[in-house]
Symmetry: T
Subunit: 148 residues, 12 copies
């Protein structure tokens, strides 16, 4: 049984309302529910941490080194310039999954840089709410592989 | 009558003291006074929100979607890299005015990128303290146009 | 009482007809009327100079050094490549306001370079017709500040 | 029940042998097996098409417009320069999933451009063999969403 | 029957004499004759407008909105930096053909940017004098297609 | 009488169906018919060669050196990266016409590089199906000029 | 006797544990101890301020204008994108020392931009824990020079 | 005896008044006098042509092909973007001297591109008024060398 | 005794005829003869594989992993964009020699990128036909060194 | 006791006279004195090597491999382009300190590249003469750490 | 009477022989003779210093600060990368003339950067041997102006 | 019988000791021996010239124009910035072979520019010590071809 930390970055609390043609109509609460159920069905526990502040994510990731087996992170726009987040994640030694509801590579130029990608185990983007289920299952897979 | 939110970003609390040859000698309190008076003379109310933290602006803008008719924002240096602010403002559906005391295009190269400009209704820069009166009046104009 | 020169650059005579979703439905004649009335109400006189030719603007700006207290200029697309205009304005010692109906920073990449911005006192963009009133009032403010 | 086309591009037949520290030890046959089983368990059929030739993928994608409900594609290095593949996929109207075993964004600079990403519904990268299961399930999700 | 405006930009009056190894030996008068004959044989009328001044082309294009069914334009070197011309053509709602005697893409780097291409219906380059006949016939085709 | 080789590159067999708002509704068979009729009416013969594979075009162009008087080529997206095609065409000594249905310069950034343009006699783009008639006539003109 | 402010930015609380092959094995507490002892031995007092949040550093630097004679700052990854920090430091009139444990110029490309360097009096990087002693002594030197 | 054409481009009529710390205090009339006297002392005649309009320079250079033995040109800021001027000068077959009062390479980045340099015989910059004497003598030298 | 695979990429079958001032007058058959004789004189066997198709080279290199001791490859223009070839060669564990008849670094800008160079043991370019003899001898040297 | 080599590169013999507002008023002789005294007080010996010639530094560094325990180098402007110096230092296995009197990152763009930084143990810049004391002490620290 | 230092940089001793179509047929001895005679006729003395070594020029310029009134320098290819030369000249307080036989701006891209131009009083290029006479006379002019 | 000049540039005297995993274990003396023996076995004489100083190579190449039939040059890191060397070699009319022990294209970005390549007859890199034998034989081939 693993402890999984799900981190939601900037502007994600608006999900469901904000630009639904891009981000879909599911709310953050519903997304977390999807993730939690998937985690529990696989025997894992999930903690959700949501903030607009990069420094709070950095702090949370630092603590997570001792208490979590994996991180799933959708940093919102912090993805594209939060190099402190990069360094925090670089120091985390377990699996990291980068998760986006939309596909940033099909959008503006500045969304093509990700500070997380160079330190992520894997990336899932463009599948909307279903990405949350996928990410938990992917973490489950990565953890099993690590044990082998 | 409209509710206008005036947002002051990083380093603006030093106004009046910091590099007066660039930013002028008016203090932030005085600037807000100018804006408030102008707003009231036009029958609007003004709330001022001041912080050095991008995440707090992001949170405030998210709330503002329900309660404000317009945003005037002088983000300070957050202008040039705060892409979370961009996404927050992109989700705000009423008028947005980007406001700068100095003219960033006449300064360092990195000041030429603005994360706010692509989502702003209009931009005012370089008029010092008078820009605050102009911004309120400009919002007044944008709101009247929207009603027509 | 000040003499203000309002300069209209390339393609502005089409205003009201051309791409109204970007430039609005007000004609150039109407814009000048707005500016004139505002100027007169503040005790200033306004001369309007309109041309598609950069060289004619350059010539007018050169003459203006002797006879005008401020320049408001909407150069149209000359904004983005007319370096002779830059040099002409650099030699003008009174306030210069750069004015655009739309917000160039929210459009094509090539509209992000302005030859005027480095030599402008202030910039107003994106407020449509109302920008003309704002520019006159801004000039009034700049001139008062200069006298102090 | 849906018909899913799984496309394997250049150098994938070497999987299991070639640079296992990057691509893992699973062979292409095994990967297809994972995908097939997942598809069947969800009531879908899967066809696998494997080639080193971009033009053959282009031809296959063109045919697929009539007979397949979704495409999952791991183009190998064709990902990074095969613009004909881009155009072929752009003309395919059902869901497209871009799939990579490793995370290209954590490797050489030239692997950061993908001709597929701008036309993909979603992207999965860095999960090794497990990505094949994930991709099928993601397609299942996308198809259900399309029906709603 | 359509009114076609043929515009010749900078340095074209030297044609026939200037760098004949690049631009051929036909004079501008002869090119216009070719265009006129082709137009008349198809039942159209042609007006030719020739100038070295971008502003005069801008003015002519503005007028042309009311009186011409199509524009064929060989802007000479104005092609590569005349953004006012871009904006003027963007406001013209009928077909626009960009025409060059030589093939700019086989020459200096700076000739690869065209301010006209983004707003042109079609482009013909490198066929020397014969391009003028081709352009008229192409306009004829575009107009017929528009009627359908 | 001349032998003309018409080459159709990647994704052109989908013409008429694929993205008709960009490429029109004419099919490749119809385009070839237009070209053939125009060629025959001018006393020339036409061979059409269609493939998604750059290497097959390269091979065909190599053979064409002995048996064709001109090449008309619409390479599809191979236009933008197929440097082997560039070298093949560079070794062909008779006229080469580069042909596109749409205007690549009004589309994505990557469509602005053409490997064919530096070795083409002339370029025709943006005229849809009519471009095929134009290209044949242009070749006819180039061959007549070569004889003089 | 001078008051020195030592600022520790993002991810520094992990020092000693995080990537010791890059950052060494000394903890932040130990580094502060080194700095404090050095300061005291030179007759100065030291205050340490540690946070992952750029805005808190910005606020602290603003206050420091009144109460500190020098700032030593190791901003962590904020170094590379925190332009608000740049503006805060630009308004501080006493000596500023930029301090890094490792040598950023020998690492990733994005670590070569520093928002602090343009406003720093001096830079010390790559000496690990010893850099903290060096920085205090350097400040001592800068202050003595300022007095002369 | 040779006919020399001296061309003055944009903003040069302000010389002597405009930014004297860069351009010196000599007026354009005085500069022409220096050039005329030097020319006459060497047995040459000089015509001076002054305009802010690139198109007029282009027209003048076209005429000059028949009647002048050399061109000396100080194009003002047209130097940096007037590609039509480039093409006009490229068609002039006698010596061309590019002349600047100040040294553009010691100023802003955009002043480092010259459209004239690639087609100039020689360049003189930074010598202020004395450059006009130098340019005439340089032309004299170039013409003598051409005769040999 | 070693098995050497010599691979000839795009457009090489035209050698001897195509642009002889760049590529020389020796035919591909003769080049292979030179290579074969040199190989045999050193006790090695040589297989030659020639194609215009990148995918066939990729396939051949994949097979070669089991049966060849070294690869000599002149990829023609595939050198400059064939990243699938890069990946194929990266998986080959014996010596690889990149071979060009001309010196690509003395030609067009786009010939300066080679997808092969980062994975080649050594490079020989610019020696024309003699390069084939040199490459075989170089392979002989590399193999002997590997044995030591 | 360690042997330290202090290397002074181009233009440093002018120190004290040349641009004192940038480089201070201390002469090179005085700087060496500071370094020598600091070294001796720590029980080390110092040799100073001064030259304007990169090749002489390269030669000296090569010899130093056998006889010195550390190098401190202020290369002057050789810092920014002397790649031979880079290679020489890369072959030196003991500590290397890069030292600058001023802070190159606060100056011209070209001063931001350092050929030394990628191979330096640590960097000290902007502390003027005091940097020489600091560098010696830093070397002392690095050597002690190496012994542990 | 002034002392003028003429400096000849790399490869200039080959003048007269090397690539005469670019550099002319005059030898360095003859160029110096031209310069000397011109200097003497104006009452000045000239010393010539010729070397292929940048460091020797740097040393000579350092000495020249005490004994020369002006420097004329043709650095050869050192012009394009010798930043130590830049710093040496930046410390010379009297007039500096940059001199080239050919016009570097009409040649390869890398010849467009000059380390000397930012610190030169004036530039003369493209006039061949006559440039040496011009440079002396220009220095004479600069010195007279300095005296006024 | 030909005279061959072998030039060794910066840092090559350290060969055998310096970074043997990149440059191998053969010393420069041994490399010269290999070259000399190969030259003599082919009836040629070899002179070796070794220096860290670019200017000495420039001087040697200038002399070599009279007395040598070919140059083989391994410039060390001078390869990447020594444009004076470029100009010296450009003036040498006999064969030039650029030689590197390692393959610079598989290393740092800055090693991908070579000032020698644009003027080299041929290039050999990555074959270690064996490259010296190859280079001599290649020169032998080039000289024989020149005679034919």
């Amino acid at each position: 049984m693993a402890n999984i930390l799900l981190i939601s970055g900037s502007n994600l609390e608006l999900l469901g309302e904000r630009e639904p043609e891009i981000y879909g109509t599911t709310t953050l609460v519903e997304l977390v529910e999807i993730a939690t159920k998937t985690a529990e069905s696989l025997g894992h526990s999930l903690e959700h941490f949501s903030t607009n502040a990069e420094d709070e994510i950095v702090g949370k990731v630092a603590e997570a080194r001792k208490s979590f087996d994996a991180i799933i992170i959708n940093p919102g726009a912090i993805t594209h310039y939060g190099w402190s987040l990069h360094d925090a994640l670089a120091a985390f030694e377990n699996p990291i999954v980068e998760l986006h509801l939309s596909n940033p590579h099909a959008r503006e130029e500045w969304r093509k840089t990700s500070v997380v990608s160079p330190v992520a185990s894997g990336i899932i983007s463009g599948f909307g709410a279903d990405g949350y289920r996928m990410a938990i299952e992917a973490v489950d897979g990565l953890l099993k592989k690590a044990i082998q």
